[in-house]
Symmetry: C2
Subunit: 197 residues, 2 copies
DNA sequence: TGTACATCAGTGAACGCGCGTTCACTGATGTAC
DNA sequence: TGTACATCAGTGAACGCGCGTTCACTGATGTAC
């Protein structure tokens, strides 16, 4: 138990929770005992680093939001055409959700686990992503690729559309009989056409 | 305890479960004890009519699907233009979800509560609705209102889009800062434009 | 340099709770003689 | 018509389980003299 390594356990706990959440795709299936086991530690030691389970899950969520941001940013590398940026953002969003279903559930499909007021306006991790989306939509309008509409409304709508595909994939893996690529392509194409001047 | 009224309790249980589900908007928050209390009966008596909790919830779901079908069908009364039918169907779907968030969650947002194979192909309650949606899309194509695309793919996409708005409303009631009407209008308008020839 | 002490991350065991479910029962209802 | 019996929907109490969390503790680590 070397003195300075107190934070390493904290990191281990976060990582283990993240991994378990990714495996089971269900928050309530991830027990504190299971997390402790995965880290190789007894349950009470988690409470040295997190006040309760909610705080732990929330911390994992904040991290996951950052990953989503990074995931999206990375997908944009080299894309300068605003419409192309929008398409890539959409694909990245869907891919992220499909690859991290449990995290996505907690972030966007769970029942009030995150009360959005827990974050102040600027820290709220998803907000940066959303504002970038608004910017891209506005860029499309300025470039004459989109009709001149309210960029905020349009961005919200586009977000809802992409979220629809993502959450359907997650919640009903077998049902949408249309292939993932086909559905994504259709949706992105539809948005492009529907927003055209 | 008159002999012939055995089925009345069954109905009462279904109704109470439905009501509790609607109130709490969370399946795991609805306990068998709570259901029994609401009916005015002891918990074990539920097991006279349903093998276990899953069967009870599933029965409520099947009912709810029927209501969704009826809700949609009712919204179409008198609408003969295929595009108008599609719009009404979309609005009905969103309204149904917003009004019955817990049921909607279980039907379309829960984790495999319903394994779709529990229903054979023709009984599956949502399927009828979906096939009607496919028909309406095909009608739009035939009437020259939509581009000639694969109606099944388009219907799936449109469903995903409407589902996106609905589930976002349910899961993140505060967040989409855009008013419900505005968002719905935007989405339906976008679909209409995007599908236009 | 050596010893006594304070610190505090992590331990082991348990608490209390709510859950789905089971089981032996009861007592009103319908039936057979 | 009256009595003894079978039926069976619903009861009351409890079981076993897993959960989040608490609490008194331990023992290696760093520190003071």
């Amino acid at each position: 138990l070397p003195r300075g390594e107190g934070d390493r356990l904290r990191e281990d706990i976060l990582a283990a929770t993240e991994a378990l959440l990714l495996e089971t795709a269900d928050e309530s299936a991830v027990a504190m005992r299971a997390i402790a086991d995965a880290v190789g530690v007894t349950p009470p030691s988690i409470y040295m680093h997190f006040a309760d389970k909610d705080e732990l899950i929330l911390a994992v969520c904040a991290r996951q939001f950052e990953k989503l941001d990074a995931y999206a940013a990375n997908s944009l590398r080299g894309a300068r055409d605003p419409l192309e940026r929008l398409r890539r953002r959409g694909r990245a969003y869907i891919a992220f959700g499909v690859e991290h279903p449990a995290h996505y559930r907690i972030l966007f499909m769970s029942k009030q686990r995150i009360s959005w007021s827990d974050f102040d306006d600027d820290t709220m991790p998803g907000k940066r992503s959303f504002l970038q989306l608004v910017d891209d939509v506005q860029a499309c309008i300025d470039a004459g690729r989109f009709r001149p509409v309210d960029a905020f409304v349009a961005a919200t709508g586009i977000w809802a559309i992409v979220h629809g595909v993502t959450s359907l994939r997650i919640a009903m893996p077998g049902f949408p009989l249309v292939g993932e690529e086909v559905l994504t392509d259709f949706i992105l194409d539809l948005v492009g056409r529907g927003m055209a001047p």
